[in-house]
Assembly symmetry: C2
Homo-oligomer: 591 residues x 2
């Protein structure tokens, strides 16, 4: 069985040394001192290590079973879910008015990471509930909040998001599910939704489905979509559960991975639904949650890579195979451990430098969300809006790649299911697809976010990097780390300039380079994080930090990322500057 | 169910327009005229499309089942295997003396490709047999050949290769399986072998295991390894089957993919074995087959991508989602097909340009093997020896990536098993691992092949590219295609120069860049193929070829590969030139 140890120390480094959370001028952040965040992470780590991780393989092998309309989750999931509920892990950043702990989102995100690493499929049950909570919290009526939120905060009731239909995913304007108004103000919802994570299961008393549907007679396309609450059991006035609603699970999908999560076809047959917010404004409610949801998926990307990396390292230290060409390292053994070999190290350093960089970017992103929401900071809101498709798209692509890389360290043992390395790759694969496939993230970034508010946010981003680099002028220790960021940032700006100059006459000149731009910007973001982490590490060492190894390792890893990963930017720029022509020339019929 | 149509026309293009096989001065090649190869490919395509492809999903879902020591292959495999045998598809390039057809290896390779695309797991049963045939053919005694080969040529008996043991894969010198000499000249083989593809199944009367083992008292390590024939049933003097030998299947592995192939743990308990060739020279026999076997795995890489690509194209043309930003393409429908979107096209062009380039490289490689064997051409032998790790390593990495890319076109439908896109990725993943994991290929390339025979072969490779580029001087149509190859080739030479100058003082300066070098050289090889294919296409058009669309598409695809893929070389060079330091600095304990 794979190992897992929550990387508590590294998350703590990000919160305290890098982000210095308790010094931030954001309401609630002054409580996040070193001792407090360490204690929370310590406890979260225990749950992840001891409760969730041991169920990861079980979930993969057993999967979810649908029998007579009831979905049975894998053995042990129910008990683990109780542990999560009792520990308050489902309520951390929820409003205290509804039973939450009111902590910052960045604290919630930091505590969630080890849960996702330990058991991604399991953690989705509460993750989806959190998303549904947010939709009702930000857009529901006071009555709706009072009725649903207290039970959702505790995950006594779980939630789902119902968007996709068989014929439409990205293009939700094509949606057919309809919601017919009733005399009592409710709606009758009819239609079929697919790919509904946690759509039906045996771990909660009630399931609160949030369903996008069209009210007949409304505007065409995406402007006619509304959002509805459709509870599995209707809720009586006194809060008790009433009649079973007309929503049933049609089947469970067989998937490449995340077998522990029940991915359902949901059939709505005149089910009673309640409008959230205004009619035809359903997409607005979706968009509110999007930054959080996409950041959560971006976290899944690197969190799976973290778990896979830990195992790859353990195997590389343990497995004896071949000899170090520069001199035997294990003279008493029949061979040296794999980790002596340069290409194995190259692989492990790729993984490590990605994971730690992505962790920093994600936590910084979570803090920006707090700053936007709690401090009403428009600049932070603009910046996280810009960064969101990068965090989601780049981190899930690379997260999957790094799971595959970790699997490769095992040779043939990585391909058989026994060692668990296949599962990390299979589970991580979905994160590139759901919550907006990564091509759609690239489109969002280049087609929308770059030009948002007159390009203000991307300008601010470049300014931030410029002044970050400038702040290290004259610091010889930082030079080798900062210079590659300068170069990469200039290349990213050149790509943006190319889009501006050539996208006007033909938008495909920009869109054909959108995927490259997303990856390029991902590297620049991680480069920025590594510059900041290296600086924080030098500061800690200068201040006489006791754990020298930790900080020196951080600086070595920073140097690796800058030397070995940032050169990708020149490739992406070269591709981008070839424009639409190579991509668009072939007639569709000739593919 | 996924579609598959054998790409007969494109394989024929490679054989005839690109390689001009019938004009080659290699014994047997003059028979390979257009009509002949077209007829063979046509028939192979029918078997692939109608017999093998429909069983691909079946194989994945049913897998192989071990009950009471007997392995049951998926439903329909047995009947399909009969079709393969009856059609003579297992005997194409085997020696007529033993019932083969004596055709060139390049013809065998060309005919195999659609089988591998259609059903990789199934085709391994005959693929492994072919490998075992070669080992006996090149190293066995006349008696051994007479006893085993006629039945192996027809696949009445299948073969296996037994190398890996639980504690050793790459480092076979650690092997523990022992072979004790008996008075009658035979050996008693005892030990455990793992990951034995087709180790036990129900499709053949007998299974001929080729087993690496150590004769006690022989040299230490890899120099003490010998190769043995261990038949499942001993063969009587009259050719009839005798006693059951002491070899049994321990278990079938649960794997990420290729479920249709039975991957077995094989236990040898004093099984009777017969030495092939000389004692302690077992690795020599293995190496003889390595170029062929690794080329075959490199073929698997792009052959899976071919199948995945075909489906991705069909889906992209069929699925309506969103609108072309430059103007609606399907005004009568609710949305435009996916293929109008630049990022979808970028993805499809990546796949297409890789697959067709890799096909050309593989067939050229197969022809070089023919030239080396049949025309005793040492230069060809040296060149294919150099190219083999690139064909295997680069093509299986990219082949897998392209299967993942094809899966991505489907969005959520790519992740569920129903559409079959997950299987292409899961199946393709193994090719990066077996027959020498890709890191080992990179090591072979940089640590051995570059310097082989004083660097003669890599020099010849660079000369070949130089004169290829020169031959297009003044041809304006080719300029945009040739220039990127010139640049990339210079970068590859610069990388080689870096290794020479820095690898002397520390070999890790070369080995830390070995993986990048392998990929860089892969791009240069495919670039070379695209230059030649573009030229062949212009020639065809100049000569009034009727199928203009085909040749123009080829040129467009060439331009895409050069513009969008060759820029990767600058990234790889930049990484290589950072040397060992970023990779090797971290102490093993700090990973």
């Amino acid at each position: 069985m794979p190992i897992f140890n929550a990387p508590t120390k590294d998350i703590q480094f990000v919160l305290q040394d890098l982000l210095k959370v308790s010094e931030q001028d954001i309401p609630g952040f002054s409580d996040l001192d070193r001792d407090f965040t360490a204690a929370v992470l310590e406890e979260a780590g225990k749950v992840a290590n001891n409760v969730l991780a041991p169920l990861n393989t079980v979930g993969d092998q057993e999967g979810c079973v649908l029998e007579n309309g009831v979905v049975r989750t894998p053995k042990g999931f129910k008990e683990a879910f109780e542990v999560m509920k009792e520990g308050g892990w489902t309520a951390m950043d929820c409003d205290p008015e509804f039973g939450g702990q009111g902590l910052p989102y960045v604290m919630h995100t930091a505590a969630q990471e080890p849960f996702v690493s330990a058991n991604m499929a399991f953690n989705m049950y509460q993750g989806l509930t959190h998303g549904a909570y947010s939709a009702i919290y930000f857009h529901g009526s006071d009555d709706q909040k009072a009725t649903y939120l207290p039970k959702m905060v505790t995950c006594e009731w779980t939630g789902t998001m119902n968007l996709t239909e068989p014929h439409c995913g990205t293009d939700l304007g094509l949606m057919r599910t309809k919601a017919e108004p009733q005399a009592d103000g409710s709606y009758k919802v009819t239609g079929q939704k697919i790919f509904i994570s946690a759509g039906e299961h045996d771990m909660a008393e009630n399931i609160i489905h949030l369903v996008l549907a069209k009210i007949p007679g409304g505007p065409e396309g995406i402007k006619g979509v509304s959002l509805f609450i459709v509870p599995k059991f209707l809720v009586n006035a006194d809060g008790s559960l009433g009649a079973r609603n007309g929503v049933t699970v049609g089947k469970i999908e067989e998937k490449m991975g995340i077998h522990g999560n029940s991915t359902c076809v949901m059939n709505y047959d005149g089910a009673t639904g309640f409008l959230i917010g205004e009619a035809h404004k359903g997409m607005r409610a979706m968009f509110t949650m999007m930054n959080e949801a996409r950041l959560g998926v971006g976290l899944q990307g690197y969190a799976q890579a973290e778990a896979a990396y830990q195992n790859a390292v353990a195997y590389a230290k343990d497995r004896l195979q071949g000899r170090d060409v520069t001199g035997t390292k294990n003279p008493d053994g029949p061979a040296d451990p794999l980790i002596v070999h340069p290409d194995i190290r190259r692989n492990l350093m790729d993984q490590r430098s990605f994971v730690e960089g992505a962790r920093a970017l994600t936590m910084w992103g979570a803090m920006l969300i707090d700053r936007a929401h709690k401090a009403n900071d428009d600049a932070a809101d603009g910046l996280i809006s810009l960064l969101t498709p990068v965090i989601k798209g780049f981190q899930t692509d690379k997260g999957f790649d790094m799971c595959v890389a970790a699997q490769q360290v095992y040779g043939g043992h990585g391909y058989i299911e026994e060692w668990g390395m296949s599962q990390f790759a299979r589970d991580a694969r979905i994160a590139m697809i759901y919550e907006g496939a990564n091509g759609v993230q690239a489109l969002d970034l280049v087609g929308r976010k770059l030009a948002q508010d007159g390009g203000k946010h991307v300008m601010a981003f470049f300014e931030m990097i410029k002044s970050e680099c400038k702040s290290h002028d004259g610091d010889d220790r930082m030079k080798g780390i900062v210079d590659p960021l300068k170069t990469a940032s200039k290349q990213l700006q050149a790509a943006g300039m190319y889009f501006m100059q050539n996208g006007m006459k033909n938008p495909n000149n920009a869109l054909a380079g959108s995927y490259d731009f997303m990856h390029m910007m991902g590297h620049v973001c991680l480069g920025l994080m590594w510059v900041r982490m290296a600086k924080a590490s030098y500061d800690a060492l200068d201040n006489g930090a006791s754990d020298k190894d930790f900080y020196e390792t951080k600086i070595t890893t920073a140097r690796y990322y800058m030397a070995r990963q940032l050169p990708a930017c020149s490739m992406h720029l070269a591709r981008i500057e070839t424009g639409a022509e190579p991509v668009m020339t072939l007639e569709a019929a000739n593919f």
